[in-house]
Subunit: 228 residues, 2 copies
Amino acid sequence: MTDTQLKIAPIGEGVSLKARAYEALKTAILNMNIYADGAELRLDERDLSARFGVSRTPLREALAQLDQEGLVRIVARRGIFIVRKTKAEILEMITVWAALESMAARLACQAASAEELADLHTLVDKFSQDEVARQMGEYSEANIKFHQAIIRAGKCALIGEISDGLFFHMRAIRQRTIFEQDRAKRSIVDHTQIVEALEARDAETAERLVREHTLRLRDHVERYVQLP
Amino acid sequence: MTDTQLKIAPIGEGVSLKARAYEALKTAILNMNIYADGAELRLDERDLSARFGVSRTPLREALAQLDQEGLVRIVARRGIFIVRKTKAEILEMITVWAALESMAARLACQAASAEELADLHTLVDKFSQDEVARQMGEYSEANIKFHQAIIRAGKCALIGEISDGLFFHMRAIRQRTIFEQDRAKRSIVDHTQIVEALEARDAETAERLVREHTLRLRDHVERYVQLP
DNA sequence: GTGTGGTGTATGGTATGCCAAAAACCAGGG
DNA sequence: CCCTGGTTTTTGGCATACCATACACCACAC
């Protein structure tokens, strides 16, 4: 495919300061272990604006957005605090995730292309063949990819958006690899069955398997994961 | 119950100007028929701040929040535009709604109190008995209450939050009573069956019925509703 | 020592003004 | 009449200054 149009170089960072501050803060919060004991959960507008080199205005807008997304909580004349999700909130997020991904699986039975199904198949095969050699971290990556691929195959952008938000909130927890403890083998079996149902275009079964798989994760977290 | 505590009057509206501007704008947009031909879909920061009697800063923050929620779209140096949802987006919202409410129904089979089930029963009986006499508007109200009651009975706050957002976005459409055209009788049957399944604590059936009910609405909209 | 009231300080909320880019407008030439 | 170029206006983005309140600290009375 030859370009007949002149592609304009993106000159400066065409992004607004607000958007950049938002991304910077989001990744900063993500890469921080907010569950550590001595973690500084308080942010200061003036300090941040000085460190970013921008004024408070765009920074405040970025923080307001993070507040709305639930990553931080802004309290008037008190401060801005990084939110630690409670266990109950985590469980609710997994529940919603189960609802959305199972619906995505249902949709995928109609909407998924043969190529997407092949990709899913590959994802499963890949880490079932040499599961032993894999480190938990790599398995976790593949695990995430698998679930995201199902959601994508459902072709419902809104499900994808909401799920992405949930994934983000849970990443701080998932990093501790607690979720996957002792669940890898069971997951591989589950995933295999899910792919089979998708390939058979069996919506009822695919939906049920995905839902049960994720709700089992929910129960696992409820029973064995302890959160501050 | 006698109050032994001194109830402090809320002196001034303890709410921030941003929050008030947000609410005002939200209801204003809601009460506006944005699908009319001559509808003014453009907002102006300075004009709004003058009309509200507040400065641009809190107003901008309120608008930024509405932007994130998808009610308006802010384009730098172009303007702020009220968003008209496309038909595809409406269909996706109904799909997500189906996923969430069916999960809520499943949860409700475990979590719903006898009282909540009785309330649901009442809601169904109420407008099945004298459905003929009801105006479509009243039916629509009862319809919404029914679905919200199911979600509440599931006891998952996050499902409630997300659903509320979806409901809001669809209200502009629902006001046109297009959704319910020719669907009232079928809905009443559906609702009756749903309540029966809930009362039987039959999670599988309740989930399936709710999902099918909402997905039928989706198909109805897809086929018969025409959006600009 | 303890409680109380005042005062200073930190911090988010708000108002205001300027800036740059996009759009609208306008004048001139063909 | 239409295109073209520049100029003005509009509009959201950003910086800055000030405000109001929650909190901490301290002096003082008991």
